[in-house]
Structure formats: structure tokens, C-alpha cells
Point group: C2
Chain length 305, copies 2
């Protein structure tokens, strides 16, 4: 494994999300081996997997001593209360926990162990949901006050395994990773191997390139839209400008406008129906998911209750 | 199935690519049922599948009589001679055949029966090759003098099957479609059903949306680049302008520039190495696949032998 990127400084303080599994334990040892000295590890006991999870916690307490913050939560209860999948509830609980850790320590940068094979699963998953294109996780991601940082995002799972065995590093096996129940585990254990077999080559690098390409194109579209002064001082879409755009830019502009106003369930169909509102002869409003309306009035499009 | 789009006119002459299988036979009957009266069907006997292929040809001769042009080729020989896969050789042979038909008839618009499930396979295939993002087939595609038109590209395979059985239309089963040998057949028969099972929903609409989104973003990037005057009158990249662009736009600009000059095997890595040439202190040239070089001289980037 290469050295950490230059924009991470060994002298700065970081939080490190750690489960006790191979990826996050590797991340920790790798950082320490590169003289990172100001790491506070954050472990959330999810209240799942009974004794195994207790053993993970004990393993980490021995490894890390006072450099460890442990939190406890009940992900099952959270999932039921909020009608979420266990995976989504667990992620949300971890983010809440990281925010707590940041408040307690004053450290807002959180290093996470997601790697290139996790990324490939995410890209495939998002692609097949169809809401946002072939998106992956970002190497750096703002989340409220936190910055989530993923320094292993280009590192393959095999490299992590090699690193652990070369350096004889102990870790805890997470047996739930090997169970093909959850969607992501099935993508990992069934879909990606089948696609590799069909294509006769590893699909992960191709998925990474597709993701980078798509991210580049989005950035270009965003920069282009930013340069157009589409919004008036009241934050309404200026229709004469909007009408002068290509269909593709109109769709992007509406997508961004509605997403920035937290309109849920933005489908392609909805965007195209919103686009029709720009016609002077179309009906002057459209009901949106979540209860708001998009209205056309005096050459402007805007949201109203 | 809906009516054909308004930009197809029943009175105009069209070539129709026809195999005798369910998709193309459905396309033909659907067009006829909407009063398309000037159709010339083009069938290429690939020299594969022996008696079955002869029977396909006879079936079409009975169905279409003098509205049919039949061509004969030997795809196996072509594949060997040009070191191509059978699939690629067959596609190339069909295109050559359509050009012949266009010369003989004076008709340059070719209707093809590719449908939404074909499109999903293509998107997945291109995505996993990683060269061009989640690209699909275009509804209209220029190919030399020909225009390939795919009026069924949004129609699902199930709709085609329903249409055929509702109208009691005979067609020829192509047994090679059911054999999970070729990559595309395996994507159809193994990968897409597995992904549907894992996701708990049909992945085809999501792939279609992703494709449209990616096409929109590319169009925006192309329009943005076109507006920048990056090329000087000698068709060289103007470096001061180039350097002012975002990384994402620089990558797109170089990709387009090299592709427009038919540089083969454009990988992401190559694009990024080409991008480094823009630095005044980088070495002044880069060897490209295919034997040409990209050179930097007097604030320009250009190709030289």
C-alpha cells in the first residue's frame, strides 16, 4: 500500500471510524506506520450480533486503550422507529455517533476505511437504483460539521488482505459480511463475481473509471449552470434564461433547483413534467412529492406551499 | 405498443433490418399496421447456423416477397480474417450489407428492432468495459451515409411478446439467443435476472434513466467545450485557455481532441498523462497508442507523427 496522500498530515488530529474488522484495523495500522500520532478511534457497538459485537469491543479496547471512544446504540430499535433498513439505520447511527465524538474531542475530520471494492458495490448499487447515475462514495465528503475522508478508496481489498498478513496484524472477522443476506453483500458475493466471469475480467477498475467520468461530467454541468445566473434575487428560476438552454441543461437546472429545496423522490419523469411548466401555455403549477408545488408566474418558476 | 413517433412518416421510404426473429418481425408488422407502405426489408444470411438460417431466409421470402433484399456473407471467415469476435464481425457485416442496400435502393434510413432490454444489456456491457461510461444505443445514429433508427428502443421485450401473441404473428425462434455463450446472452440470461433478484426490482428502467442522465451530461460538456474556442486555426489546443479550465473540463477536452483524431485505446490514465503535458515544465511530448505523439510547443498542444 502506498503512503497516505500529502493532504493528510501525520501531526493533525483525526477521528478514525473503527469496527475491529479487517478494513478499519488495516487503516489504523497503516496510519500509525506512517507516523500519524493524533488518532482518536471511534467504535460504535450497534447492539446487533450479541457476543460477537462485545468481543469486537474488547478487542479494540486492548488494541487502542485510551485512544478509543466506544458508543452503544440499538440499531434494530432505530430501524423500526424510523422505518429504515438495518443498513441505513446503522449508517445513520454511526454518523450521529461521529458527531458526538466530534463534539467531545473538537476533532471534525473522520477517516473511514471504505476501499475500492466497497466503492464498486456502491457504484453498481446506485446505478441499479437509477436515481443518481453511477455514483460512488466521495474521497472527501462534508456532513454537517464533519468531513468524512476515505484514504483507502482506491485501494483494492486484496491489497488490504496482503497488508494485514505481511504485517501479521490481528483483526476480528465480521461474519455478517460473509452472509449473502443484505443487498450489498449479495452484490459483493454474487453479482460482481458473475459479472467478472461473464466479462472475463475484473469489473472494478471499469466501475471506478465510469464513476470518475460521471463525476467530471457533473462538475462541468454544475459549473456551467453556476455561470448562467438562472436564479433571480428571490431565488426563483428566471424563465427567459431557462428557455434559452438546451434540454439537457434545463433538466439539470430543474434537478438541482428541486434537490436544493429538498424535494424528495426526484424521478426523471417528474423533472420532465416540471420542464413543461416553462411553456407559457402549460398549466401554471405542478404538485411535487412532499406537498409543495412548483409554480410559474411572471416569467419565473418557484416553489410555493 | 404505442404508435410510431411522429418524426417517422408512413409515406417515406425506409429500409428495415430483419432477421426473422421476434423483435424484427414485430417491428415490421407494427409499422405495416400503422400504414407504413414504403418498407424495404433487408435480411443478411450470416453463413452461421446452417439449415436454421436457410429456413429463416425462406420464412422471410414467403412473408415479404419482393419487398425483401437478401444478402449472403460468411461471418466466420470475416471474424478470422479481421481478428474479430463473431458478434463484432456480424455487426460489421450487417452494416456493410445495409450500405449495399442503400446504394441499390437510394434509401438511407434503416429501421432496427433493438428494444429496451437490448438497451439495458448494452448499457451494462459498456459500463463494465469502462471506456465510455454507461452508454447505450442511440435512437438515431449516423453511420456514414446511413441513419440507423431504433423506434422500439423504449419498448420492453414483454410488450413485443404481447404484441406478437395478441396479433397471432408468426416468427422464427433464434435458438442462438437462448444459448448462454456470448457475453450479451449471459448478461441477458444471468446477470440482469440476478441483479433484479438482488435489488428486488427490475433494473431496466434504472439503467435507462442512468443512460439518459449520462447522455445529458455529455451534451452539456460538449456544448460547454464548443463555446470555449480551445482550438486555434491550425486545430491545435490553445494552452493558456486550456490551463484556465477545471480538471474535469481539461480531461473532457483532451478526450474529445484525441478521439476526434482517431487515437485508439483512450484510457483514463492516458488522458491524465496527456493533461500533465500542459505544464510548462513537463517533458514536451507523449507517445500515444497507434504511433502518434502529443507535443507541446509555443503554448499549443498538437499531434505529430
Amino acid at each position: 500500500m502506498k503512503a497516505p496522500p500529502a493532504w493528510l498530515s501525520p501531526d493533525k488530529p483525526y477521528l478514525v471510524g473503527i469496527s475491529g474488522g479487517r478494513d478499519s484495523v488495516c487503516l489504523y495500522h497503516w496510519l500509525v506506520s506512517h507516523q500519524f500520532q493524533n488518532l482518536t478511534c471511534c467504535h460504535l457497538h450497534h447492539g446487533l450480533r450479541g457476543h460477537e459485537a462485545d468481543a469486537d469491543e474488547n478487542f479494540l479496547r486492548e488494541l487502542l486503550g485510551s485512544d478509543l471512544i466506544v458508543g452503544h446504540t440499538d440499531v434494530t430499535a432505530l430501524a423500526e422507529k424510523e422505518s429504515l433498513s438495518l443498513e441505513t439505520a446503522a449508517r445513520r447511527a454511526r454518523h450521529t455517533f461521529f458527531r458526538d465524538c466530534a463534539r467531545r474531542t473538537g476533532i471534525t475530520q473522520v477517516l473511514l476505511a471504505h476501499h475500492a471494492d466497497d466503492q464498486a458495490e456502491t457504484i453498481l448499487f446506485n446505478l441499479l437504483r437509477g436515481s443518481a447515475g453511477p455514483k460512488g462514495m466521495k474521497p472527501r465528503q462534508k456532513l454537517g460539521n464533519l468531513t468524512l475522508i476515505r484514504p483507502l478508496l482506491a485501494v483494492r481489498r486484496t491489497e488490504i488482505n496482503d497488508y494485514l498478513s505481511t504485517h501479521q496484524i490481528s483483526f476480528r472477522e465480521d461474519h455478517s459480511n460473509a452472509q449473502p443476506f443484505a443487498t450489498r453483500n449479495r452484490l459483493r458475493h454474487e453479482a460482481l463475481p458473475l459479472l467478472a466471469d461473464i466479462l472475463g475480467r475484473d469489473p472494478v477498475p471499469a466501475l471506478q473509471r465510469t464513476e470518475q467520468l460521471s463525476r467530471d461530467l457533473e462538475e462541468i454541468a454544475r459549473d456551467t449552470l453556476d455561470s448562467l445566473d438562472l436564479l433571480d434575487p428571490q431565488n426563483r428560476l428566471h424563465l427567459p434564461t431557462f428557455r434559452s438552454l438546451s434540454t439537457a441543461l434545463q433538466r439539470q437546472a430543474l434537478h438541482d433547483y428541486l434537490r436544493n429545496h429538498d424535494i424528495p423522490n426526484l424521478t426523471f419523469d417528474l423533472i420532465d413534467r416540471a420542464r413543461l411548466l416553462a411553456h407559457p401555455k402549460a398549466p401554471p403549477s405542478l404538485n411535487l412529492p412532499g406537498g409543495q408545488r412548483l409554480r410559474r408566474k411572471q416569467a419565473r418558476l418557484f416553489l410555493s406551499p
